[in-house]
């Protein structure tokens, strides 16, 4: 299948570019072509929606209008972009006055949008469009024996845009199992990592990240799989800060779920970018390399 691809700032040239490259590589293995949307702009994420609601909607509307021209679903690996784009679709339907204003803004840029582009998270496309069986079929290195904590974070399941359970999602757990791995019990699987507040209120984010790392470890996880660039950053890049603040000794590799899939599919460093993971995954994944 073919879809329009919206990487988002982090996954394209930002700190999560390994997510972007592994997503593309894994999709190719699964016969899915992700064609990057040309000239897309930043979705604005939470900061812009807290700054000016209408402009935030207009930012997403431009991307949706561009995607509409390609006539396909818009797929994104980033949970925040997922929420922003879906929210825009929902609001344009729900608030006619706002739609009129967004239409006017788009018109100023010579664009039109009638609200019919479906926005999907990459995880959703993999598990629902491609399916677990098709994924298992492509496994070259079965991940048997690997204990993974499936970490969804918040925005891939909340607000309710129809993908998976808002408090107890199972799709990533099942995906890990379809690769042969073991998805450990993880009660905090859809709880917040601290999001962008890691920058302005670091202590809060470190506190939340600590709880997550602790829970994953005490449930036997050897690594954590994530579906959002910001979650990965908080848990990986700031893991040393967590250790410093709380005197803990976490050394849990935080993988993008597509990196995990890539290992199982037999892909290499070039596509999966493990060098960018701050907490090294080398030891944990040695037997699967």
């Amino acid at each position: 299948m073919k879809a329009s691809y919206f990487p988002g700032c982090s996954s394209s040239e930002g700190g999560a570019k390994a997510y972007g490259s592994s997503s593309q590589a894994v999709s190719k293995v699964l016969d899915t072509e992700l064609v990057e949307l040309e000239d897309w702009n930043c979705c604005g994420s939470t900061p812009y929606s807290s700054f000016d609601e209408l402009t935030s909607l207009a930012l997403s509307a431009r991307n949706l209008a561009l995607a509409k021209k390609k006539g396909k679903d818009l797929v994104t690996p980033c949970s925040s972009c997922y929420v922003m784009l879906n929210r825009t679709n929902a609001y344009l339907k729900q608030y006619p006055k706002v739609k009129a204003q967004v239409d006017e803004a788009l018109a100023a840029g010579g664009l039109r949008y009638n609200g019919t582009v479906r926005v999907r998270h990459l995880l959703d496309v993999f598990v629902n469009d491609i399916g677990y069986d098709a994924i298992t079929a492509k496994v070259k290195k079965n991940l048997a024996g690997l204990k993974v904590a499936a970490y969804y974070g918040c925005q891939v399941v909340r607000p309710k845009f129809g993908f998976d359970h808002p408090e107890n999602p199972q799709s990533l757990d099942k995906l890990i199992e379809s690769l042969g791995g073991e998805a450990v019990s993880f009660p905090l699987k859809s709880r917040c990592c601290g999001g962008s507040l890691v920058i302005s209120e670091e202590n809060i984010a470190l506190d939340l990240s600590r709880k997550l790392l602790d829970s994953a470890r005490s449930n036997g996880a050897e690594c954590i799989a994530t579906v959002c660039p910001l979650c990965q950053t908080n848990l990986d890049v700031y893991q040393s800060r967590v250790n410093k603040k709380f005197n803990t000794d976490f050394k849990i590799p935080i993988l993008f779920f597509t990196q995990l899939m890539g290992i199982a599919f037999g892909l290499g460093e070039k596509e999966l970018g493990f060098k960018t993971n701050i907490v090294s995954a080398g030891k944990v994944l040695a037997k699967y390399a």
């Binding site: 700032c9 702009n41 709880r191």
Partner: protein, 187 residues
């Protein structure tokens, strides 16, 4: 009386804000909020204060800036209100009136740096954004994060170049954003 009615109407005019009228003060949002105990007014309290017309207290409080946008409140609210969007609405009104509590939390400044970059480039260059943010708020704090920055560089995660849109794309985006701001609010 006039003040109370206008503030609720003002909030209700922002998409996602209209739920404020339905709240029964059950406290589920607060109970679900990971940061509720760090807020000076809990989420349900903010709603009560807003409905009672305490406009200045609400807009100058730092409560909503601690919202993580985790949306747990939203999926659990028994009246179907979206408190997350309500917090966003309050943040946007506070920003427009210059009431963001910059002296009590750095989040408004961080959001500001973020939006400045998106406004001018249409994309977010992480290094540029972080540098600008720390320069703006407190350079010394930035220094403490040097080990993190160095590890990012070592692992090839910090790119100096910023992604840019094409010249046509940039022009198009600017036109759209400027029109949106003219219709909605100020930059």
């Amino acid at each position: 009386m006039e003040q109370r009615k206008n503030f609720v109407e003002e909030i209700s005019a922002i998409p996602g804000g209209e739920g404020i009228r339905l709240c029964i003060q059950c406290g589920t949002c607060t109970a679900s909020c990971p940061n509720a105990d760090k807020m000076e007014y809990t989420p349900s309290e903010i709603i009560a204060l807003a409905r009672a017309g305490y406009r200045h207290e609400v807009l100058s409080s730092h409560s909503m800036w601690y919202c993580l946008s985790c949306y747990l409140c939203t999926v659990r609210c028994p009246r179907g209100i979206n408190p997350t969007e309500l917090m966003h609405a309050l943040e946007s009104i506070a920003t427009k009136e210059g009431l963001s509590p910059h002296h009590r939390t750095l989040t408004p400044a961080m959001y500001r740096s973020f939006t400045d970059f998106v406004y001018s480039l249409g994309s977010l260059p992480e290094l540029g954004f972080m540098t600008w943010y720390y320069l703006l708020t407190n350079p010394l704090r930035g220094l403490r994060l040097m080990p993190v920055v160095l590890s990012l560089i070592r692992h090839g995660r910090l790119s100096v170049k910023a992604r840019r849109l094409t010249p046509e794309g940039t022009k198009q985006l600017k036109a759209i954003v400027e029109k949106a701001e003219a219709l909605g609010g100020a930059h």
